[in-house]
């Protein structure tokens, strides 16, 4: 298994004959209390890799354009002896630079072995996109839709298991009752019960910003993957990202926006820019919430969410 610390094209990992493990997916349920930390996500995956007994043969650290704290925590992992590769998204969104990064990644992984898997992963993502549309229509619960999207980063470490989950969701027949359509912007929440709590307030999350990137970006060749992933909004300039968000808010007929921010994450600094454009500029009701260590939703955060729901009204 190859550990990944943020979005690394699963197309490339699977085509290289490797099973990816997105370490972030282990964090929300983790009980680790890391000694040195800024961001809990990176500190906890660092501890999990160094002391957690995971059976990893290597680690790919996304060290540029997305998560800045990952660089030092990745180096600490490397110092512990695990082969580590640093993968950087170009800030300017250049597909050429990204393709060079992908070539280095492929070399780290030992070369492409099963090219057909590019297409297999792409087809699975297409099905996830169809489920995303159903979620917007209120036919898929937000918590289920979120979990599917967020686990697309590593596809559960098994394309068969991922396809089975897709199949189960495709077969389910659900109607979600809700009052308002919500966009959840920012990094995925460190609180595992956020989507379910919002649902209990009648707030249906129809857009999970970062997880949607996981199902949206794909390609069937290295250059195609480079072109697509060069548009990874989280890795580039905030204005490009906001332009993308704005289209999604319209397309999904979103009523209000919640921006989740992780303590000590550089993306927190983007909040005033996002608030200015989306709230003051476009008039979307806007709530910022923050998380630090993994836990169930604290009362203080619940209070903010309930007050936000009261504000949106019936």
């Amino acid at each position: 298994m190859i550990g990944i610390t943020a979005l690394v094209p699963p197309e490339v990992l699977y085509a290289s004959g490797k099973r990816p493990l997105d370490l972030n997916n282990l964090v929300p349920e983790s009980k680790i209390n890391p000694r040195e930390k800024l961001c809990a996500w990176t500190a906890i995956w660092r501890e999990l890799v160094i002391h957690g007994g995971l059976d990893l043969e290597g680690l790919v650290v996304v060290a540029g354009g997305d998560c800045h704290n990952a660089i030092v925590d990745g180096e600490k992992v490397e110092l512990s002896g695990l082969p580590t590769c640093y993968f950087l998204y170009p800030f300017d969104g250049s597909p050429q630079l990204l393709e060079a990064q992908l070539e280095d990644l492929v070399e780290f992984l030992g070369g492409i072995k099963e090219r057909s898997r590019f297409e297999i992963v792409r087809a699975l993502k297409k099905r996830a996109l169809a489920l995303d549309k159903r979620r917007v229509r209120g036919e898929v619960a937000a918590s289920d839709g979120f979990l599917l999207q967020v686990s697309t980063s590593d596809m559960l470490g098994s394309l068969e298991a991922y396809e089975e989950r897709l199949g189960r969701m495709e077969a389910s027949d659900e109607t979600v009752e809700f009052k308002h359509r919500i966009a959840l912007l920012g990094v995925p929440p460190i609180y595992p019960d956020l989507h379910a709590f919002l649902q209990s307030l009648g707030l249906h999350v129809v857009y999970d910003e970062m997880p949607y990137e996981f199902i949206r970006l794909t390609g069937s060749s290295l250059s195609g993957i480079s072109r697509s992933y060069a548009g990874y909004t989280f890795a580039g300039k905030i204005q490009r990202r906001l332009g993308f968000i704005e289209k999604e808010l319209k397309r999904r007929r979103v009523d209000a926006v919640i921006h989740f921010q992780q303590f000590a994450c550089h993306h927190r600094l983007e909040d005033p820019i996002m608030r200015e454009r989306l709230n003051r500029g476009l008039g979307y009701p806007y709530l910022g919430i923050e998380g630090d260590m993994p836990s169930k939703l604290p009362e203080q955060v619940k209070l903010r969410l309930e007050a936000f729901a009261e504000r949106l009204g019936d």
Partner: protein, 237 residues
Amino acid sequence: MEIMGLDVGSRAAKSALLVGRKWSWGVADIMAWRDLLSSGAEVVATGYFRKKVPHTLVVTEITAAIHGVRHFIRGDVDAIVDIGAQDTKVIDLATGEFMMNDKCSAGTGAFLEFLAGYFGLGMEELQEYHFRAGRTAEINNTCAVFAQSEVVSRLVEGYTREEVIKGIHHAFARRIGQLIPQDADRVAFIGGVVKNRGVIDAFEKELGIRALVPREPQVVNAVGALEYYMARRGGPP
């Protein structure tokens, strides 16, 4: 029928009771919230423990504060600042947006309580010291822990207790001021902490705003919870 607004916060419980046209209110320690109950009255609960007390209806402190301020203050209000023991909430009434500080004690009542304890004073004495100060000691840190070491440094430098307390009030106002909308002019201050007029003086001087303090700042949310209930029902009980 009697209706009670009950605000059970992290430190104190506050009640507002309306019988006919007559309002009455009470304040009790958090552990003694039951003493405030009136037999037979329906309860509209707010505050952190709102769901833990018997209630007919619950409402968050944010919504309760908006209704409560309207009850006490006539005319336009641009923003509400609710300073509690454990957190501070700022509501922008022009946009309906709200911000909360609950991660850092520097902008909450807990910080002033620490300061009072450090000088061996009661919270109610801080205002007296504030207005007796000749100068304002400069306290720059926005972190309560670092501000504490600054307090010691200023005292060593020769500032008086009065001047340090005034300096802390100003640092407190600057800290919370970061959450207040920049274009706000008329700002309502509520919560037990704002009974300290030294804090209000610091806010007005630091931010150049007009501070509006209701005559019972601590019970505004309890009154607001009750007003919220009546607004939903379309009139008094």
